[in-house]
């Protein structure tokens, strides 16, 4: 038996392909949720109502201080005992999205706080509505600089998708493992999965970087 056997590579490909699609889908959907919900968290934390903002701050803190796997288990296994049955796919992506939303909200917050106080004052002096102030003045300055920070979590989330295997979602690493178990041969499949993770991470980083560059140029920020 050789260390590396190309025939296993060809045989494993369809497994990995199916898994890769699940992994990429989970990452994209989960991150879309994280981006939107993270922004919502960050905006609510800026609310002038102290109770609302404290409540959201606590929720974010709670999500960040408990393991992702525990949260997935909680929703998928504990939920049904209270009559809340959520399909694995929905639960997995939902929890992934919410978990990373908590992290992203911190990044958004840093971006928002970095916008100079004078910008807010100019908006008041010009009588802009609160909504318009956020949309046209604050966020266009707050978000471009934090794209790299958000991008880190994008890659981070991608690398954590194997956790979904715990609730029987056939993402890529699980597929590689299944292939190994069926063929009594793990080397090729596991290494291929690793290679794919590496390539995807590199591509994602490159995309993040160009988005960052483009946004900064688009909004004429440094």
């Amino acid at each position: 038996m050789s260390i590396w056997d190309w025939s296993y590579v060809w045989e494993a490909l369809p497994y990995l392909y199916r898994g890769a699609i699940v992994t990429v889908q989970a990452t994209l959907l989960g991150f879309a949720i994280a981006l939107v919900l993270g922004l919502v968290f960050a905006l609510i934390r800026q609310s002038p109502n102290r109770y609302v903002s404290i409540a959201v701050t606590e929720i974010v803190e709670f999500i960040r201080s408990t393991p992702l796997l525990l949260q997935v288990f909680f929703v998928y296994f504990v939920g049904p005992q209270f009559g809340i049955v959520i399909p694995a796919w929905t639960a997995g992506i939902g929890v992934l999205g919410i978990h990373y939303a908590a992290y992203c909200s911190e990044v958004y917050r840093a971006g928002i706080l970095a916008v100079e106080e004078g910008q807010w004052e100019a908006c008041t002096a010009l009588n802009l509505s609160r909504q318009r102030t956020w949309r046209a003045i604050i966020l266009p300055q707050a978000i471009p600089p934090i794209v790299p920070g958000l991008g880190n979590y994008f890659v981070g989330m991608f690398k954590e998708t194997p956790i979904l295997a715990a609730i029987a979602i056939l993402e890529m690493l699980q597929q590689a493992k299944n292939f190994g178990a069926e063929h009594y041969r793990y080397t090729e499949a596991i290494i291929m999965a690793g290679f794919f993770f590496l390539v995807f991470s590199l591509v994602a980083s490159a995309i993040v970087q160009s988005v960052s560059l483009w946004l900064n140029r688009r909004y004429h920020l440094q």
């Binding site: 100079e116 004078g118 910008q119 004052e121 100019a122 008041t124 002096a125 010009l126 009588n127 802009l128 509505s129 318009r132 046209a136 003045i137 266009p140 300055q141 909004y219 004429h220 920020l221 440094q222």
Partner: protein, 291 residues
């Protein structure tokens, strides 16, 4: 035809104990002209335990140009910021064009005004800041169009025409499509002036608008302000350390010290022949610093 269409004769208006109008009898197309456009009435401002302004009273007439001078920390900026609603007041009333700025009358009592009221009254006031506060992601033209379009609901084309006109007035028609980062300090400040004017305020506030500028750029900004004063019906309230400009430009100079106006009067008198010892000390210190 000599008879005015509307004439106010010995009109007085009080809200509770507050006298808003006292016998204004100068008619001018129905507008009461001797009613001050801005009036601080016993306005108090505190930061925590620190009382910055204590029962300030200050009236500013329509089209009057008032300069505020005084040592650092005397509350000059605070006065402008309260009027722009950037700071809450802790006591008293600020009247703008006959209406309380932050409060409304309800059953004889003053209650905190709604956001709508606040925005309507605030619309009469414009402000130019020491550090410009231009929107960095918008061109000079867009900076001047944003509020007219989104607040006043002006069609884009009209807003653009007006913005271009204003930029021309401040001598920047060639820089319309430049971003703030591509402009010098003096140019930025002139864009900021045009941006404030685009909202057609009745009162313009200037807070040390030349303090962040290199000396050679101060002149271009002051000459824009001078032109504004000469060509537009604008009330101007200006914090400045430029005594020469205050002297030539203003109708009145107020000397702030420790949160109070301790001396005020026409510039020639206040700057040339101050009565108060503190004023004299301040002016000679400024003179020394500038020589």
């Amino acid at each position: 035809m000599n008879e005015p269409r509307i004439r106010f004769e010995n009109i007085a208006k009080r809200y509770g104990a507050l006298t808003v109008l006292d016998n204004p009898d100068i008619p001018c197309n129905g507008k009461v002209m001797n009613e001050p456009i801005v009036r601080f009435e016993n306005v108090t401002k505190r930061y925590g335990a620190l009382t910055v302004l204590n029962e300030l009273n200050l009236s500013i007439a329509r089209n009057e140009k008032v300069c505020i001078i005084g040592p650092s920390g005397s509350g000059k900026t605070t006065v402008l910021r309260m009027l722009m609603t950037l700071e809450r007041i802790n006591g008293g009333v600020i009247w703008v064009d006959g209406e309380p700025l932050t409060h409304v009358q309800k059953r004889g009592q003053m209650v905190l005004a709604s956001d709508r009221h606040l925005r309507r009254v605030r619309g009469k006031i414009g402000m130019v800041f020491q550090h410009f506060n231009l929107f960095p992601h918008m061109t000079a033209l867009q900076n001047c169009m944003e509020a007219p379009v989104s607040v006043l609901g002006l069609p884009k084309k009209d807003a653009e025409a007006r913005a271009a006109e204003l930029l021309e007035m401040v001598g920047l028609s060639g820089k319309k499509n430049h971003f703030p980062i591509q402009l010098s300090g003096g140019q930025k400040q002139r864009v900021a002036i045009a941006r404030a004017l685009a909202m057609r305020p009745k009162v313009m506030l200037f807070d040390e608008v030349t303090s962040a500028l290199d000396p050679e750029l101060i002149g271009e900004v002051l000459s824009v302000i001078r032109k504004l004063g000469a060509e537009h019906d604008l009330t101007m309230l200006m914090v400045t350390h430029q005594m020469g400009f205050a002297k030539e430009f203003s109708d009145r100079v107020c000397f702030f010290y420790d949160g109070k106006i301790i001396e005020q009067g026409p510039p020639d008198q206040l700057l040339g022949n101050p009565q108060n010892e503190r004023t004299r000390q301040f002016l000679s210190a400024v003179l020394e610093a500038n020589s």
